[in-house]
Structures are given as structure tokens and as C-alpha cells.
């Protein structure tokens, strides 16, 4: 079965619907599936629920889909970099569900692993636990959180083969591996496409079983949010 699609638009064709739930990988602008996000914009689906740690910035990442008002609800842990987001949320246009970052990561991991719910200490005694089941284990109180799955996951990887096996690079890995496992259909944009067998099987981060569609994006722009440097003569 061929998993390789010629471009982002064709890779998403036929699997997008209004009102669906989409997971989008990345942390800040690092490891985001930018060309797949742009293809969702071009395909004009709307009322999306988007699960992503952040909401991009004005003009990049998921900020692209906020501008076109295609997102109805975000499930995120931190959205502080996006003014448009704040405006749409405070005006009531956009629904928002905040999750602690580790809870969000684990909900996605659990969803992909067939675990419908789990208990965590994170958020006990805060508004995050409001209305959720609490239970004591070994003398401490935990809150129940639900696993998350998506209709479509869009992710970014550094290298992929024709089987859909993926390798991420440095901190661009972040939420991408769990989201790959939690999407009913997972579409990966990859910077380098190689033949099956060209990646050391011991070095594969995401096995191809989690990846249904692959698009080769050798020229995807990679943006830096906070360019911090040190002088060359520093000790």
C-alpha cells in the first residue's frame, strides 16, 4: 500500500470534515506540521476542534487557522503567544479547554494506547479537577482524566521511509509521537523521504503502523519564536 502522497492537499483530501477533531503536533513553532496546517486552511473545513499544546503565533502555525476562523475549540496547555487567540477567546468566539501540559500529553498517549482514563495527581485542588472523579491511592488524592483520540492527526517528522516509519529531530519531537498514535488517520509531513530499510530499525521513533499518509516537505519553513544567542567571546 502506498502511503506517500505528492502534496499536503492530496494527503488530506477525503479525510477532512466540518466539525471534526484534529490533533496537531509541535511545541511553540518547533516541530509543527506547517504545510499540513496551510492545506487545511486551503481546504476550508470549519468548526474544528483542535488539540495542540499551543495555538501558534499570529500568522504562523495554528494562528493560520484562527485567522480564517476555522477553529471552534482549542484543547491546549499554553496559548500565551497569540494575540488573535486571546481576542477571539475573550469575545466568546472561540472555546478553550486548558489542560496541564503533562496531563494533555498523557491523555493523548493513553488515547493512542487504548486507555480510556487514568488517575493523576496533577491539578488536584485546582479548577482543573472541578467535576472530575477523585480517588485516593496509597494515601494521596488523584483526579481522573480521559484518554484523547482524534479523527485526524497532523504531525511533523525529520525523516520518514515509504513504510511510514518516522524519526524526529531534537526538541521537534515533543507531542508528535503520541499524536501519531492517537489519530484515526495520521498524516505526517517529513523533511527527508528515504526508502524502506534506509533507517536503522533500532532508531525508529514512530513505527509506520501509526502513520497512514506521508507527504514529503523538503522546503517547509522552520520558524524561531525567541532567537536567543550568546557572544562568541563568552567564557
Amino acid at each position: 500500500m502506498n502511503k506517500i502522497f505528492p502534496n499536503a492537499r492530496s494527503a488530506l483530501a477525503g479525510i477532512l470534515k466540518d466539525g471534526m477533531t484534529v490533533m496537531a503536533g509541535g511545541f511553540g513553532l518547533c516541530g509543527i506540521p506547517q504545510i499540513l496546517i496551510e492545506a487545511i486552511r486551503d481546504l476550508k473545513v470549519k468548526d474544528l476542534t483542535v488539540i495542540s499544546n499551543n495555538a501558534g503565533v499570529d500568522g504562523a502555525g495554528l494562528g493560520t487557522l484562527l485567522e480564517t476562523r476555522q477553529i471552534k475549540k482549542m484543547i491546549s496547555s499554553y496559548v500565551g503567544e497569540n494575540k488573535l487567540f486571546e481576542r477571539q477567546y475573550l469575545s466568546g468566539e472561540l472555546e478553550l479547554e486548558f489542560n496541564p501540559q503533562g496531563t494533555l500529553a498523557e491523555r493523548i498517549r493513553a488515547g493512542g494506547a487504548g486507555i480510556p482514563a487514568f488517575f493523576t495527581k496533577t491539578g488536584v485542588g485546582t479548577i482543573i479537577a472541578d467535576g472530575k472523579e477523585l480517588r485516593d491511592f496509597d494515601g494521596a488524592t488523584y483526579v481522573m482524566e480521559r484518554g484523547l483520540v482524534a479523527d485526524v492527526s497532523i504531525i511533523h517528522a525529520y525523516k520518514g521511509d515509504t513504510e511510514g516509519n518516522l524519526v524526529y529531530r531534537k526538541t521537534a519531537r515533543n507531542f508528535n509521537p503520541m499524536m501519531a498514535s492517537a489519530g484515526k488517520v495520521t498524516v505526517a509531513e517529513i523533511e527527508h523521504l528515504v526508502a524502506a530499510g534506509d533507517i536503522d530499525p533500532d532508531a525508529i521513533h514512530t513505527p509506520g503502523i501509526f502513520v497512514q499518509r506521508v507527504v514529503h516537505a523538503p522546503n517547509a519553513a522552520k520558524l524561531i519564536e525567541q532567537r536567543t544567542t550568546r557572544p562568541r567571546n563568552a567564557a
Partner: protein
């Protein structure tokens, strides 16, 4: 005189121990990395998926795939490892990180923390803060003693909580307090910044606190 941001960071660095895995929050906590004693082996964790965080890169060597949790470009070290967010928070929630140093808006004498939201005003989110305070072995807060003249050390938080009974130590520009978060002995003033008086700290603190018998003024 009250401590500067660098002096507060230097005081926080005294909580580091050889072999520690440490998570530093954004703001003053980030400065703590400048005060790690020479020869001490401390690995910094960045919750977006990295252990062994190195310094900022030289100009021209920035890598968009290599950032910290504050989205700043950084570098790797010989000790570095990368992992997924779920593994990263497994380390945090699972109690494998020795120390977290965080900023705060409000702290109570029983160790409650509020640092993520101002209702109706600031919509940013908690990021990893709730997981860090729930899971890391020891949690240190570094913050200004007051905000716009109002105490930040309170009897009860007015802002939405990040966690309850989670803080072990508070370092402000005026003083250092230890908090017995699991026992019932509350908050204790253990150090004053140079030339800061007990009266000044009392006047600027709403939270109840005891004064340690061996209270001393220490240069940071």
C-alpha cells in the same frame, strides 16, 4: 537592601546539589543556570523534551529544532537526551526530577501556589506548571515580595490555584521562607536579604510565619 534578580537567582542556586536533575521556570528561575557552582554536575530538564540543556547558541548557529520550554534557542551538551512530551512528564510526574524552581503570583503559608491565570485578563494557560508542582520532589518559588505594593505571600490565594500544599521554599527580594507543606508547622522566615529588617518583612507579608531562632542576614 533588597536583592536584585541576579542575587535572588544566586540564592536559589544554593538549593542545587551535585547530581540533581532540575527544571527551571521562565523569568528569574532561568537565571539560576548562571550560578551553578563550578564542578557541580546538574542536568537541566526542559519539559518540551530534553535533559541536559546547554547555553544559548552562538549567533548564526541557532537551530529551529532545538528550543527550551520558553521557546528560546538553546544548545545540546554531551549529556543531552531528547524524548517525547509524554516521557518528559513521566519524569516530572513520576518524581524523577529532584528540584523545580518556579515563578509565582501568589503563595500561601501552607504552600499553595497561584501562577497561571488572572481571570478575565490574562489567558495564557498553565503549561507544565501544575505537573511540575504535583510531581517534582522539591519545589522552590522565586518571586518579588510584593506586586504593586501588595503582598504576594498570602493566607489564601485569590487567583486560580496551580497546586495546593506544593511549595517547599520561597525566595523573594527581601527574604527566604521554608514551608512545611506536609506537616502542620506552616511557614518559617529563615533568612533576610542584606539590610532588610524583620519589621519590613512583617509589614509586607500577609501570610502567617514564624521566625527561625537562627535567623540571619546573608549576602546572596
Amino acid at each position: 537592601m533588597a536583592w536584585t534578580r541576579d542575587q535572588m537567582a544566586a540564592r536559589a542556586a544554593k538549593e542545587l546539589r551535585d547530581g540533581f536533575y532540575v527544571n527551571l521556570g521562565i523569568g528569574i528561575p532561568t537565571l539560576v543556570s548562571n550560578f551553578i557552582p563550578l564542578g557541580m554536575d546538574v542536568q537541566l530538564q526542559s519539559e518540551n523534551g530534553m535533559l541536559g540543556m546547554g547555553p544559548f547558541p552562538f549567533e548564526g548557529e541557532e537551530d529551529a529544532d532545538l528550543i527550551n520550554a520558553g521557546k528560546q534557542t538553546i544548545t545540546e551538551l554531551p549529556t543531552t537526551s531528547y524524548f517525547a512530551s509524554s516521557d518528559s512528564f513521566g519524569m516530572i510526574r513520576g518524581g524523577h526530577i529532584d528540584l523545580a524552581i518556579l515563578g509565582a503570583m501568589e503563595v500561601t503559608d501552607r504552600g499553595d501556589l497561584a501562577n497561571w491565570m488572572i481571570p478575565g485578563k490574562m489567558v495564557k494557560g498553565m503549561g507544565g506548571a501544575m505537573d511540575l508542582v504535583a510531581g517534582v520532589k522539591r519545589v522552590v518559588v522565586v518571586m518579588e515580595h510584593t506586586a504593586k505594593g501588595q503582598p504576594k505571600l498570602l493566607r489564601k490565594c485569590t487567583l486560580p490555584l496551580t497546586g495546593t500544599a506544593v511549595i517547599d521554599l520561597v525566595i523573594t527580594d527581601l527574604a527566604v521562607f521554608s514551608i512545611d507543606k506536609t506537616g502542620g508547622t506552616g511557614m518559617t522566615l529563615i533568612e533576610l536579604a542584606d539590610d532588610v529588617t524583620l519589621d519590613e518583612v512583617k509589614a509586607k507579608t500577609e501570610a502567617r510565619f514564624k521566625v527561625a531562632p537562627d535567623l540571619k542576614t546573608k549576602a546572596a
